[in-house]
Amino acid sequence: MKFERYGIGIAKGLTVTIRHLLRHPTVNQYPEQRLNISRRFRGNELVWNREKCTGCGTCAKTCPQGAIEIVTSTDMTENKYVVDKYQVDTGYCIQCGLCVEACPYEALYFSHAYECAKYRRGELVQGKEDMLDRPERKVSGYFYPDKAKELPEQTMLVEKVTEKR
């Protein structure tokens, strides 16, 4: 191949990079600035509503992983199942969302949290108490459109028009 373009291509490339130097970078400085994540975000934990859950076990059956462990016993007085143990191993769950979609009683949600790193493997296993639907835990709108409406709108990178020429 002949070397006959005399560096015009190189010069063009150089202008692109130097222009980026003057543009505003697209960085989101995470610990201080946080993105509003998707309303349907499949968070790294599950939230479980004790009142609504009937202990039917559909979630555990649908889970392709078998990450949900549920043990129920029958309560004769009120004629319903009592959930004795409800445990999800978040280190094993893959956030596929199938359990949430499958729960017939709308008792299972994704949480809206992602800061779930732990120092110990054991701490990743969520017991019944950890999963409860407490008011301070934000619930994701995955598969629950009405819940999604309450959440803030997602920050999109396309909104950030920094590409002025």
């Binding site: 070397f3 063009k12 490339g13 990079t17 392709p64 969302g97 199938l98 396309v158």
Partner: protein
């Protein structure tokens, strides 16, 4: 060459910065020249085909996400098409359009990565890669909005998609469509005519059309060699016959052509998305199906034009809730068969860029 020197064996990989994951090449070099190369894979064999036999038809979708993990949507689509063919499911109109939009967006995202990684292998110190990653990030934002995940979307289901688009989606997509062509121009300005890149990539690693067909190569690699073969046109699936788009091809089939081919394909994808956006009807997005699908006994093969080439799913059903056998035809693996012919006689540096221009994902090769 004056003196015959000893060839020596060098391991490239499994942990090497430019083998795109855990791929290993046992290369025999003579000085800088590659005499022979033996790809060794299996470092990411995760038994996806085997696992699929133990799962329900719905439960397999997350597995397909992790096949070619930079184009999850396409994998989902191919798999869902196979299941629908097997079970004879009719997909609602709106879902078809959503699928096409998603698949084409995913193609752009995956090709951006492919081109960026290729340029990175050429040694352009991360810059093009990061620019393209930025644009991919915009697409990922859109995916996140509809599916709630950034990489493993698990969005399509047999008989439609899991949820309808949120109402913020269309404006955002429109903005993206306005922006994207300008970025593509910018990338072209950045490196497309760069002398060094041309010197590096032009004429390197030529794969002739005949060779490509013999190796059963598909996708951009095939089309860069001048063969006009695209499943979207040749064997239209979903609703691709309704759109008006071209199949770009290149002449020589060297690394530079493969790079250009990918850029052209991104532009065509944009065209398709624009048409799909205009035609998008309203209505349901998911066919009424039982919780657990039980297709009748039989077999089905569905293939799509994934960003890397022909992606096919072959399913055998024994009328239970899990497939009897699931086989995947991964484009990366088949495209890789041409590698040895392409690299012999080139330098180590060329080995890297030829390998990069084929654009593989190890998750798909080893499955």
């Amino acid at each position: 060459m004056a003196v015959r020197t000893e060839p020596f064996v060098l391991n490239m990989g499994p942990v090497h910065p430019s083998t795109h994951g855990v791929f290993r090449m046992r290369a025999t070099l003579d000085g800088e020249v590659v005499i022979d190369i033996e790809p060794v894979f299996g470092y990411l064999h995760r038994g996806i085909e085997k696992l699929a036999e133990q799962r329900t038809y719905t439960g397999i979708t997350p597995l397909t996400d992790r096949l070619d993990y930079i184009s999850s949507m396409s994998n989902n689509l191919a798999y869902c098409l196979a299941v629908e063919k097997l079970a004879g499911i009719k997909v609602p109109e709106r879902a078809e359009y959503i699928r096409v939009i998603m698949a084409e967006l995913q193609r752009i995202a995956a090709l951006l990565i492919a081109v960026g990684a290729f340029l990175n292998d050429c040694g352009a110190y991360f810059t093009p890669f990061l620019y393209m990653f930025r644009e991919r990030e915009r697409i990922v934002d859109l995916f996140e909005m509809v599916s709630g995940q950034r990489l493993t979307y698990n969005y399509m289901r047999a008989g439609g998609v899991s949820q309808d688009l949120p109402e913020e989606f269309m404006p955002a997509l429109r903005k993206f469509m306005d922006m994207m062509p300008r970025f593509m121009d910018e990338y072209d300005r950045l490196l497309m005519q760069n002398e060094i890149l041309i010197a590096r990539a032009k004429g390197v690693g030529i794969l002739t059309g005949e060779q490509a067909i013999n190796c059963s190569v598909s996708g951009p690699v095939l089309r860069a060699s001048g063969v006009n073969w695209d499943i979207r046109k040749a064997d239209p699936y979903s609703i691709y016959d309704r759109f008006d788009f071209d199949i770009p091809t290149q002449a020589t089939g060297d690394c530079y052509d493969r790079y250009r081919q990918r850029v052209e394909e991104m532009r065509q994808s944009l065209r398709i998305i624009r048409q799909a956006m205009e035609q998008l009807p309203s209505g349901p997005v998911r066919a009424e199906l039982p919780q657990l699908i039980r297709p009748p006994t039989g077999e089905a093969y569905a293939r799509i034009e994934a960003p890397k080439g022909e992606l096919g799913f072959y399913l055998v059903s024994d009328n239970s809730i899990a497939p009897y056998r699931c086989h995947i035809r991964p484009p990366s693996l088949i495209n890789l068969t041409a590698l040895r012919d392409m690299v012999r006689g080139w330098k180590v540096a060329d080995l890297i860029i030829i390998f990069g221009s084929i654009d593989i994902t190890v998750g798909e090769i080893d499955r």
